[in-house]
Amino acid sequence: MVTNIMTGLQNISGYIYPNEFELHWGILIVVYPYLTGLVAGAFILASLERVFNVKVLQPVYRLSLLSALAFLFVAPLPLLVHLGHPERSFEMFLTPYTSSAMAMFGFVYAWYLMVVLLLEIWFDYRKDMVIWSKEKRGLMRFVYRILPLGVTDVSEKSILFDNKIGRIITIIGIPSAFLLHGYVGFIFGSVKANPWWSSVLMPIVFLFSAIVSGIALILIIYMVTTMFRLKTMSMPCLNKLAEFLLYAIIVDLSLESLDFIQRLYESEESIKILSEMISSRLFLSLIVSQVILGSIVPMVSLVWARFGRLPDEMRRMAYFIAAILVQVGIFSTRWNVVIGGQLFSKSLRGLTVYKMQLFGLEGLLMTGFLLILPLIILYLLSKLLPPWPDSEAKVQYSQAGDHGLR
């Protein structure tokens, strides 16, 4: 730790307050809004199918829900790990300070997990679980018997009720997902001491970047899982996903440019040090990774792939690459917000550096683990609650046994 800081000392330019030698929020806090954004984005995508009746997205509906859940489970972990006293974290629920954005986030998170995601998934899968509990054997049968919480009624009326409630929850879920990630933006945007963070646009920029990253994530997961399951991808679904991804990128990029232009034009006290930071410390992650690789290149390739005349094979490839680049770009966005906000001194007179550790609780390996963990959870969830369109259980006495019930 000490040696890390000592080497850091040599890279400091200008003057920083002595207490600023240590960067307080490291890569784990970069991961946290990244994961939360994926949750919100995936959920909003799922709601498109459910509430706005975008039927071509039906193959990814359940996949989006499960992905959102898997990532939501992991989202608070980086926060927890970075705490000085993780064993005291429960205090946030015992004595939350109502004026603290961070304390309120605990409740937004709990609301979103318990009331929105879990409930929606439960109502959506209840019928299937009841049927699977009759088909499966052994442990799985036992699990499927418990999960419906004793409500084994699969009459048409009951399923209709499930669908109705599911729809209501999704409608509640959309503002909740907006709230979830908008709130993460507010945690940063409300810090008036930090000119890089303090901006009313922050929650909105966070929200749209969340939608971008969520759609791209589902695009990737859908393509990869379908490939491994040796099924054919639904091209209309992919096309629709790509379209939405494109629109979201355009809105996101416009908002961020707006923020940038406004700052540049207003040219407040902080502009000198911020421009210095962008042109030196953040050049790679902001200009190259976030703007060029993460926004402009995917935007161009999506336009070209979606509206150009391409064979499906090429088109899928282009979508895939664009989605991967978007992930890199959004991760850089989070990096630039969280790390960038701490690279300059609040005296506005100097820049410091962030030295990342490889090992340790706040190191690179831990970060990698936290980024892979949701995928493992998603794998397990997909074993428990198969999200594939062809694995949905059919109710035998129903004349329309698939999703068309709704």
Partner: protein, 258 residues
Amino acid sequence: MKKKKSAPLSRRDFLIICSKALPFTGLLFFPFTANRLLFGQEIDEYDPTQHDYAMGIDIHKCIGCGRCADACKKENNVPKEPYYFRTWVERYIISTEGESYVDSPNGGIDGFPDLKGDIDILRTFFVPKLCNQCANPPCVQVCPVGATFASRDGVVLVDEKYCVGCRYCIQACPYGARFLHPVKKVADKCTFCYHRLVRGLLPACVEVCPTQARIFGEVGLRSSPLRRFLRFNDVVVLKPALNTKPKVYYAGADGEVR
């Protein structure tokens, strides 16, 4: 005096011995008086609602000796490393070209080295910094669990046993006055030496300032040195635009100070 061997003390001898020993009897009671001095008044008598503290800093008087930063570390057992400070001293040098150079090597504790480069000095001065004990503290606003708070006498304190170490308060402080204690893993900051205040003592930094550049006292007391300081000086607070309402007032602070 000669003492007669084996004879009982005469009344006169006894009195003489007593009078000689009198100065030393004081020593018997010394620990009690010392404690009374150290602890000023009984803490039970202390009524936080009757106090409202603030600090004044006279930049024209600061000689940049760094004794305040040194005493603060010794009084409050602040880690010795040069990146944990409850108070520190900055040196400002404004060149004739209008460029500002600021430094604070080890918070000023070891003095300020001669500048090797030749800056053409226009003005130069020292600025002691510490927690501004804001009346509208952003650190308290953001603490998720209520582990940092303004006490009833307006001093912003940290609850070491309750702080979760999320460091949101450190991010929210515009003055860089907070740090994460490297051993305790909780937020740490200046307390105005609260443990001294309640015993009627001055904060350690004020106590040791050799030029009285730091002035401490009650805002509401006519006779307090702080009142006098506020009456006779044009004072400013740091970063007033952020509406934190600091209770550390600077006299003679240059526009470059931030």
